[in-house]
């Protein structure tokens, strides 16, 4: 039996299928990487400033205050993105905002609460900071509701963080 036609057809088929399977996965090119850097340059510089100040902080309260400042920086970036960028960009920055809130702000607030004596003047600063953080969340939600552009995942995350902040604000028993 002559198999040559089947072999020719089979090879052609496999070749075209391979082309189709290979193409879509791409890493960002140098131009794309540069565009990303240009888009995020200011944000990166601001985050570096927060990093330097966090390194210089000598108390958990100072670190919590600086963490809150970092959340404000990212919140401003999320809001700017929601006004004009793609949903993917809003989601990306929203994720980063969630990271700063949950990995930086909440733990430092918890630590500060454990370390600071409720009778001390720092405790008032801490309470003020917690209230401010809750107001920040309310403000972000409100602005997004006006634009009707808050992704559901970020909304859920904000609600969870607000709940944690409110739980922390309860006076110690």
């Amino acid at each position: 039996m002559n198999l040559r036609p089947a072999v020719v057809v089979g090879v052609a088929w496999l070749g075209s299928a391979w082309c189709a399977a290979e193409a879509p996965q791409t890493a960002p090119t140098a131009a794309e990487q540069l565009r990303l850097f240009q888009t995020n340059r200011q944000l990166l510089e601001q985050l570096l400033n927060h990093g330097v100040r966090l390194s210089e902080s000598t108390s958990s309260l100072q670190r919590a205050e600086e963490s809150r400042a970092a959340t404000m920086t990212l919140a401003a970036a999320v809001q700017a993105a929601a006004r004009g960028d793609t949903p993917e960009r809003v989601a990306e920055l929203g994720d980063h905002l969630g990271t700063i809130w949950t990995v930086a702000l909440l733990p430092t607030l918890t630590q500060a609460r454990q370390e600071i004596n409720p009778e001390s003047p720092e405790y008032r600063r801490l309470q003020h900071l917690q209230q401010q953080a809750i107001i920040d969340i309310d403000r972000i939600e409100e602005q997004f509701q006006q634009a009707d552009s808050l992704p559901p995942l970020i909304r859920q995350q904000l609600q969870r963080i607000r709940q944690q902040l409110q739980d922390q604000s309860e006076p110690p028993r």
Binding site: P5, L36, F37
Partner: protein, 252 residues
């Protein structure tokens, strides 16, 4: 060989079941039926086909549509015999290739909505590092984080230096400079006296090695960089070398 008696007409079935001679004949017939498809098909010629069709038409009246179909079949067979299998296989391969190309292009999203969205890896890394700095309790932890930041900034520079405008290169250079001086160098100065000397030495050695590598890499890139990127790369090499010298001097 197992004979399937159910295929036999009912009136013979009982007899074949009891008669060994007839049973043998049925077995041979079954075997022949099985082997027949394995025989090679003798090559047909257009003449054989024409003769067969003429006999069919002569034996019984054939509807005109069927007749046309039979003639078309005859024409295609003649054409196939004339052109040969290579040509036919070539056409089939071309059709499949065409389908493959169409499939490949239809798999790509349309150009307008299409460009895949890439998240910025440096931004992601910096968010993680800033978050980690918020909860890092010791200079050693902070030193590790700042070394990572320096490395990330250097990696980003290596990705874009060949096409980046001067302003972007300068921004990267300034961030790198701050990360080395206000991050690494400052943290090494804050090491407490009671920090275990062995751990301290190992950590400082790792940091010094990273900075040395970065310095060498930046210098290597500067040799092939476009003019607007060269000064920043050279500055990065110098900054990393200064940082490395500082860290090495702290080792006992």
């Amino acid at each position: 060989m197992q004979v399937d008696l159910s295929r036999l007409p009912a009136e013979y079935r009982c007899h074949v079941h009891d008669c060994p001679a007839c049973r043998r004949v049925v077995e041979q017939l079954c075997r022949l039926e099985q082997l027949l498809p394995q025989l090679p098909v003798p090559p047909s010629t257009p003449q054989v086909k024409s003769t067969l069709i003429a006999r069919v038409i002569a034996e019984a009246p054939v509807p005109s549509s069927r007749l046309a179909a039979l003639r078309r079949l005859e024409t295609f067979e003649q054409w196939l015999a004339k052109t040969g299998w290579k040509f036919s296989a070539g056409i089939a391969a071309a059709l499949l290739l065409g389908f493959g190309v169409w499939w490949f292009h239809s798999a790509q999203p349309p150009a307008t909505a299409s460009a895949p969205y890439h998240r910025h890896s440096l931004l992601h890394a910096e968010v993680q590092h800033v978050s980690a700095l918020a909860t890092a309790d010791t200079p050693a932890e902070r030193l590790r984080i700042w070394t990572e930041i320096v490395r990330e900034l250097n990696a980003e520079t290596a990705l874009v230096y060949s096409i980046a405008p001067e302003a972007e290169m300068r921004s990267l250079g300034q961030m790198f400079d701050r990360a080395v001086h206000e991050g690494i160098v400052r943290q090494t100065a804050q090491f407490p006296e009671q920090f275990p000397p062995q751990q301290r030495q190992q950590l400082l050695r790792e940091v010094a090695k990273q900075l040395r590598d970065i310095s060498e890499e930046s210098e290597r890139l500067s040799a092939q960089a476009p003019p607007q990127s060269r000064p920043v790369l050279l500055q990065m090499a110098t900054t990393a070398r200064i940082g490395c010298t500082h860290v090495e001097a702290l080792q006992p």
